[in-house]
Symmetry: C2
Subunit: 762 residues, 2 copies
């Protein structure tokens, strides 16, 4: 395309624009809407466009007294002249594909050039405005985008419009909160009186743009003329309503509607959120480890939390870090705020399980539990003071900030329903309680992909039984402790299977990170000693003996099953008993899936498989078809990925635990990462947090290798993903390309996964 | 080969044996020596052999009254009849390739069969003895060796010898302690009077067997007749002396001498060891984390250790676990015994660095530091009681057991010298002090492959400076702390470079596992607070803030360099200053190799490289050729292996840290592994401890992949191994097949590596 063609009328005063395909490609930002509205026949303010490349060439020729391009430019300017033949006053405005703050605001009231020379002279009003408009684009060049960014820069355009000195009116195409079709007020001013044609314009622009738009028109004597438009941010609820409306109106297909929703934005409406975060300033920031916002009065103990809750008041439990003794308090509290810990800390894990917002690892929070006060940043906060936390971004605010409650309205349900039509990968959920399972089913979960059996012990009574087991010194001791556990477990499994109504349930064998389940504070140790009938000193000695230097890499997962086979046996028996009860209740086969965690060798899998199969067979449930059994492994260690071929022979499925796989592949403890992660992101070492979005180049290669080796040796192998990445849209899109059969995420992320996978499959 | 051929004369009474190649292959154990001595012309007791397959076939035919094989057997028995034509009395003995306790002892005085039927009848003396001999072999079948073991079993042989009723004499071919050529006493009885021919037999057998042999002869009226021989275990010192003697005598080539020494056995003479471990019973067993044995009186504190040492007495420091405060005590003690911790615990690391024997993780040791007593197993032990520990196998004994001191005599030096002729892979050492470097040079180290810079701070004075740095709250604080460190470091590096006399020195950037460097006990915290001028409460708060859940996967290695660039800068400046001093002293170029630890992304390497190069360039040392600079990374995380191609572009060398790579590939904390490792080995889950011998199928594939990817993108890439596996013979043989350029191990293992790699290269 010649540079002469890079100056052209987007909406000429007379006739049609008749753009070439090259010119159509140049239509970015406002230029695009002006062109499309004008083409659709709606009266539009005459507008021309010029690219930076053309403008710079014009200037070069001007210096050399070469007038060839100027001829084209002048002819272009003439296309702004209307039927009256009068040279109009002009407006110059930028037209960026993405709006940003530094761009020059529209420059109005520019006199038409008085001569051809005047039309390109940067010391004259028109030339100066164009020059300054281009300059306002700035010039960003990332280290990897040199060439591309330079091309993009040459294609930047500036608009020149005929400035009709009429009344201006601004409105939105849709209500940004509800999504209802406008004209709607912008929020800065009430909606002006508008002629009926504006409704046509709104419908036209909404269909063409498929986005919420801010629209500027002139109200002439003769009627409405379209001047400019730019997209605006609407709430995800509004986007959903609009998408459903467009699909129902036939403007979009249903798949279009599914594709146009940003799955990441759904998080906003699946949890309570701050209504006015823009205006409040956080007093401290930590890690958002369990999403959603919560307001309440500060309490420092489980007892105070329970008391406050009993009085019908919301409270936020504030502690240095939580431990098993705090579970009742965490359940009573509306939100949790801790000074220490990260995403996989006790607080984070329990908060996500119980669905409570939680901010952890607030480094400038100091708790004085004795004086019932704490210091957050530079503020002193006492029991009963109101605070608000946002577990999505880790902010902590003083006072009770207004919250918006989650709204899983009709439009979300409709879009998710449509999404299931194109989705080919199943979405399961990571839950272990009936309550969470019910939430997940409501969100459309198709099964349980990860039931962490040790999480069934998060209650005071059961914790005693569990601690007795962990702290037992020999097999007799342990056998006694196990007796107390088997009944709990059978009942839990029966309830879970019944709730899931025959959908698959994958139970992960016991994998307690010991340090999370043991008493830590003096008080807790005293209580535990009493409940176990042990001397405090004896308990302390046992605790010291089993303390681990690196619990993440310690005596856990399959290692427990092999060193304490009686624990494995108890668990399989409880599972089978639970399946029996559920099968009798539902009158159908219960699909039990047993999963071995933290495997690094095929020999571990063989050892456990042999025992699991023996117990399952001897239960008689498989023969009577009351239960079906599927046996699989978590793949969450690099060595398991390498040996996947050998392991796959012995299993029905792999489920990738991407959290631990990321920890071991990178050699990073997620709990300890906050000390350097911020610095790493600031210095550009990491493009993104590998615990949020899967590291495709490293962890991704591990997974890819394991899938290939696993499927090669066992073509029927089923592949799932059950780490937290299974709720992250970018990671989900990646997993869908690896050919996985299902993903499993927390209940609140099930809708995100359904939508993302529908987009990826389309 | 027909079964008839599987009964044959090994040493016939008359004539030659004339064995077929198939029969030669059947000669295992004693049969082999009898045949070879007889073939060499030395008078030998007539002997025949029969395989289990032949014997069982004989028995089958006997049941069916089929005499075909019996004809061969009888003809075979006739070969025992001497010139006098008398049927001799017979001896039946097993002839196993590997001696074991369950084998039938020689059955003597068996009358010759009176008929052909009698010769195969298992109810008659000869047949019964043969049957019982075969039965005593037992029948072991491992899960993976079914077929092979069944073949081996069929080939087992039993010997029948003519029992000359003369005097027997037993002696050794060499002295088992000194290796001097015999005849030598067996240790059970004084050496009998022997005719001169015995010396010929000794020389003959020593040359044929190339091992220390126990030899049985008959002393007839006519002279000496060889009866039987079996190999015996000799000390490695004796093996070395014998090997040198055989090579000097031309019986072996020098390469033969090198190949015939078991490198693993060298460990016995490179550390003090128990002289009488066979007779003493350990009172407890832990993990041998630093090899060698030590005796001394028990002390419970650094002060007592220093006092005892000052009185010229050896002492063993007994503590729950060691921390930085114990370093002076550890230096004063002769050995260290701890209740907690594993191979990479503070105690283990410091003990290996200082060369002290250490037993750690003794689970049934309880220390009462207040009452100055401890309980080991079921014994109460008090200050001043004598104990002996063996850091090689983890045993703890009551009393002062006699020790043998290391003897790096002439024969070891000779064999190692020969080994260097065929070795193609360089052997470096992991040291950071001048003293250890000198030891390693004496053992033949060709450079330093791993100088752990943080280990240079293991002294009270420097520890204060280091703690100040770690505990600093901001950059100003840290900068002040660093000033105190730079002088120490420059001097240390200068000394190290000077000691190494221009050999390459690889310095690993600062990689302190924080928990090892910080105070833990109340007393230590009080002292540290005082030395840092901090309130105890403030120090405790800082300690809590930087405490890590999983320090192995925490804020360490390259992560420290990136978050605290001032630490990196200090270190490179100190290195350059040290190189300058050493270069001026030695008048030569100092080859400085800088290595970045714990890398997981190429971006980390790029970031550090840019800064290191800038400081090195600005020092002027490279221009003046006072120093040369090589830049590399540790490869010790799975992700670094995966991204090796990208990383290799930016570095001159990779050095594999196999300890951490094993920890992350398996997801096992070495410190915490003892709780399940024993169970894993007992249950056959692991064939061997992956921290002792490299896991070829998992970690090995990681290393192989990294080398391939690294060399593909940088063909000049140098590859080293610096984990503890670099001192393990089996691992070294594996590494040599991967094409590494050098290995680096602790000083005491340098001879083992030199020998193993010479064998592998041959």
């Amino acid at each position: 395309m010649s540079l002469a063609q890079e100056m052209f009328a987007v909406a000429p005063a007379k006739g049609k624009a008749n753009l070439s395909s090259g010119q159509l490609k140049l239509l970015a930002g406002k230029a695009r809407w002006i062109y499309r509205v004008s083409e659709a026949g709606f009266p539009t303010v005459p507008s021309i466009a010029i690219t930076r490349a053309a403008w710079e060439a014009l200037q070069n020729q001007r210096m050399k007294r070469d007038n060839r391009l100027r001829v084209h430019w002048v002819s272009c300017l003439f296309r702004l002249v209307g039927a009256d033949g009068q040279a109009p006053q002009l407006v110059v405005r930028t037209s960026a594909p993405v709006h940003n703050g530094g761009l020059m605001p529209a420059r109005t009231g520019i006199p038409a050039p008085v001569s051809e020379g005047d039309s390109v002279d940067p010391s004259r009003p028109l030339g100066r405005a164009i020059k300054e408009a281009f300059e306002s684009y700035g010039y960003e060049r990332g280290p990897w985008h040199g060439q591309r960014s330079s091309d993009d820069r040459a294609r930047q355009i500036v608009l020149v419009q005929a400035n009709i000195d009429d009344e201006l009116a601004e409105f939105l195409t849709r209500d940004p909160a509800s999504g209802a079709l406008g004209p709607a007020a912008t929020g800065r001013a009430p909606l002006p009186q508008l002629p009926d044609e504006c409704s046509d314009l709104v419908a036209l622009l909404d269909a063409k743009a498929g986005r919420h738009m801010n629209c500027l028109v002139t109200l002439e004597r003769g009627g409405v003329r379209f001047l400019s438009a730019r997209p605006i941010q609407a709430s995800v609820g509004a986007e959903l309503e609009a998408a459903v409306e467009r699909a129902n109106a036939g403007v979009w297909t249903r798949q279009n509607a599914v594709n146009r929703i940003d799955p990441g934005s759904l998080g906003q409406i699946l949890h309570p959120r701050l209504s006015s975060a823009e205006t409040a300033l956080p007093i401290a920031t930590g890690l958002g480890v369990s999403p959603g916002a919560a307001s309440g009065v500060v309490v420092f103990s489980a007892e105070d939390a329970a008391r406050t809750r009993a009085r019908g008041k919301h409270c936020i439990l504030v502690v240095n870090e939580t431990g098993p003794a705090d579970i009742e308090g965490m359940k009573a509290a509306t939100g949790i705020l801790t000074a220490r810990g990260g995403m996989t800390s006790h607080a984070g894990v329990i908060a996500r399980i119980t669905g409570k917002p939680c901010v952890a690892g607030v480094r400038n929070l100091t708790v004085n539990a004795v004086e019932l006060s704490c210091r957050i940043g530079d503020k002193d906060v006492r029991t009963g003071d109101p605070v608000t936390i946002d577990g999505t971004d880790g902010s902590v605010y003083l006072g009770m900030l207004p919250l918006s409650q989650p709204n899983i309205g009709g439009a979300l349900g409709t879009v998710l329903g449509w999404s299931d039509a194109s989705r080919t990968i199943a979405v399961r959920t990571n839950v272990e309680t009936v309550e969470s399972a019910q939430t997940a089913l409501n969100f459309g979960a198709e099964g349980i992909g990860l039931a962490r059996s040790e999480h069934m012990f998060f209650s005071t009574e059961r914790m005693v039984a569990l601690r007795r087991m962990i702290l037992s010194e020999d097999e007799t001791d342990r056998a006694r402790a196990l007796e107390g556990l088997v009944d709990f477990q059978s009942g839990d499994y029966a309830d879970l299977f019944s709730t899931m109504q025959g959908r698959p349930v994958t139970v992960r064998l016991f994998d307690p990170p010991l340090h999370e389940f043991l008493p830590r504070t003096d008080e807790d140790i005293d209580d535990t000693a009493a409940s176990l009938g042990l001397a405090v000193r004896a308990l302390r000695q046992r605790l010291e003996r089993i303390a681990e230097v690196n619990p993440m890499l310690g005596h856990r997962g399959v290692r427990l099953a092999i060193t304490y086979p009686e624990v494995l046996q108890m668990q399989i028996q409880a599972l089978m008993a639970g399946a029996r009860t559920a099968s009798e209740k539902l009158g159908r086969t219960i699909p039990v899936e047993i999963m071995v965690p933290f495997v690094s060798t095929a020999s571990e899998v063989a050892w456990v498989r042999e025992r699991v199969m023996a117990i399952a067979q001897s239960s008689g449930l498989l023969r009577s078809q009351q239960a079906s059994l599927s046996f699989g492994t978590m793949i969450e260690l690099p060595r398991a990925c390498l040996r996947a071929g050998e392991i796959a022979h012995m299993v029905d499925f792999f489920s990738f635990g991407t959290n631990d796989l990321t920890q071991t592949t990178f050699g990073i403890s997620r709990d300890d990462a906050p000390t350097f992660l911020a610095s790493y992101q600031r210095k550009g070492i990491y493009e993104r947090d590998p615990f949020v979005s899967i590291d495709q180049k490293g962890v991704g290669e591990m997974i890819t290798m394991a899938i290939a080796r696993g499927r090669e040796s066992n073509p029927g192998l089923k592949i799932g993903i059950c780490g937290e990445h299974a709720g992250d849209p970018e990671s989900l899109a990646y997993f869908s390309r690896l050919g996985v059969d299902y993903v499993s995420c927390s209940p609140y992320r099930v809708p995100i996964a359904r939508l993302t996978l529908a987009q990826a499959s389309a």
